[in-house]
């Protein structure tokens, strides 16, 4: 593992020997890693490598079988949930409501009742806040962007995105990537699980390669020879 990639900066996420088993299937087999703030990490690997399980563990949606996760100084992930934004391949939105309506509702979960803010966030992801079309009728690219808006509405410090580019048209994917780099530059820590690592080739600070439930290497470039 390429240790020199994390600078002397304090890590905000520390994972220690994380194991997650579903019956006999071990999705995570002892993951240990540290991540610092203000970076965009791309988590890559084949199907079944454990990427989604790792992300869900960071989000607090899955309890580890063994091991620990420390985020922003605490192992109680529930207490820092306001600093987490989560996005997955399903949109986590109500198909029957429009974009603004969805966002207004999900903002409420964070005690935010600010229409202006919702509109700004929707614009920030490149969508039209006045569009009343129900989200179920959006294209995949639009839906993913709206889902990202939902994940961003409460201005979290850490973003966890699971396959955001899946089935998304090239233009939307580029827009999202650009947005992510902007967010990273603004100080957010972003984790993107993806099959399409090439999408993040110039955007990601680090590629975290997973295989069979462990992190096998961490590289600065997508295509690189294995570190000695």
């Amino acid at each position: 593992m390429n240790q020199s990639l994390h600078a002397a900066a304090n890590p905000i996420i520390v994972i220690h020997d994380l194991v997650k088993q579903f019956g006999r299937f071990a999705a995570l087999r002892g993951v240990s890693a540290e991540f610092v703030a203000g970076r965009l990490y791309a988590i890559v690997g084949e199907n079944g490598a454990g990427k989604t399980t790792l992300l869900r563990s960071l989000a607090g949606l899955t309890q580890p079988t063994r091991g620990s996760i420390s985020m922003l100084g605490t192992t109680d992930l529930r207490s820092v949930c306001r600093q987490l934004g989560y996005m997955a391949h399903p949109s986590l939105l109500y198909d029957e409501m429009g974009g603004m309506e969805n966002l207004r509702y999900f903002a409420r979960l964070y005690e935010i009742q600010d229409d202006e803010r919702c509109a700004r966030t929707i614009s920030a992801v490149g969508l039209d806040p006045t569009l009343i079309r129900p989200v179920g009728q959006y294209s995949q690219g639009m839906r993913q962007r709206m889902s990202l808006a939902r994940a961003l509405i409460h201005d979290p410090k850490v973003l966890l995105l699971d396959e955001p580019f899946s089935n998304v048209d090239a233009r939307s994917a580029r827009q999202m990537t650009y947005l992510l780099t902007q967010l990273r530059d603004a100080g957010k820590t972003i984790f993107v699980v993806t099959h399409q690592a090439s999408q993040l080739e110039h955007a990601a600070d680090e590629f975290v390669h997973m295989e069979a439930g462990v992190i096998v290497r961490r590289t600065r470039e997508w295509m690189t020879a294995e570190a000695p």
Binding site: Q21, G23, F25, G48, A212
Partner: protein, 230 residues
């Protein structure tokens, strides 16, 4: 020490059951109004008492699981529910068998019989939940349901009690005082049933514990097996 206690308990159970059977069929006096049929009482009542005791243990084990997430508590809850349902079934079968020759009816909304029926339904639904739920969450869901079931019991009892005051029905098993010798035989059988229940629960508990240990070992192997994810 526990290892040796098991066969001793087995022998004790067999002895008590035989003695209880003898007393029930021959030793106990013949009941005044009902005749020989009344002897079924020596199986009907102690089964009910045993079932209620087992369900109480189930409730306590479920609460312990909710607080401490102890695997052993979960297994105890499972085991007592299974054996409790069996004894409940005995009550529900012996009830009508007794009622029919004596009172000419198969069923009556007798408070004890009806409460037992509802309890049986609740615990069968508990066992179904255990069977149908995805294995990671089964202990938690089952424990929650057991708590709900236990909270329901007094409400069941009161609702049936009042229902009966509104719609008087025959009481199976008589409500009045009981001959001391008959009570003694009933208690002997209860002791026998408790030993039997203990025996079965214990075996089942050990079986389940071993089963889970095997699963855990297999899981651990899968974990250590490098790169062998299915």
């Amino acid at each position: 020490m526990l290892r040796r206690a098991f066969p001793i308990l087995g022998v004790l159970t067999a002895a008590l059951l035989s003695y209880g059977l003898y007393e029930a069929l021959i030793g106990a006096p013949i009941e005044q109004s009902m005749g020989e049929v009344q002897r079924i009482f020596y199986y009907h009542a102690p089964s009910a008492w045993t079932a209620f005791l087992l369900f109480t243990v189930n409730f306590v084990a479920s609460v312990v699981y909710l607080i401490r997430r102890s695997i052993k508590a979960d297994i105890l809850a499972l085991v007592t529910a299974e054996v409790g349902v069996v004894f409940c079934t005995v009550v529900l079968v012996t009830g009508p068998l007794w009622a029919r020759p004596v009172w000419g009816i198969w069923w009556t909304w007798d408070i004890r019989l009806t409460s037992t029926l509802v309890l049986w339904l609740i615990y069968v639904s508990y066992l179904m939940l255990r069977r149908f739920s995805s294995s990671g969450q089964t202990p938690l869901m089952a424990a929650v349901l057991a708590v709900f079931g236990a909270l329901d019991v007094p409400l069941v009892y009161f609702s049936i009690w009042f229902f009966r005051t509104q719609h008087p029905q025959p009481v199976i098993g008589g409500g009045g005082s009981i001959d001391p010798k008959m009570l003694q035989v009933a208690l002997i059988n209860w002791a026998a049933f408790l030993c039997f229940a203990g025996l079965v629960c214990w075996s089942r508990y050990r079986l389940e514990l071993l089963q889970r240990e095997v699963e855990e070992t297999e899981a651990l192997e899968a974990l250590l097996d490098s790169g062998g994810a299915p």
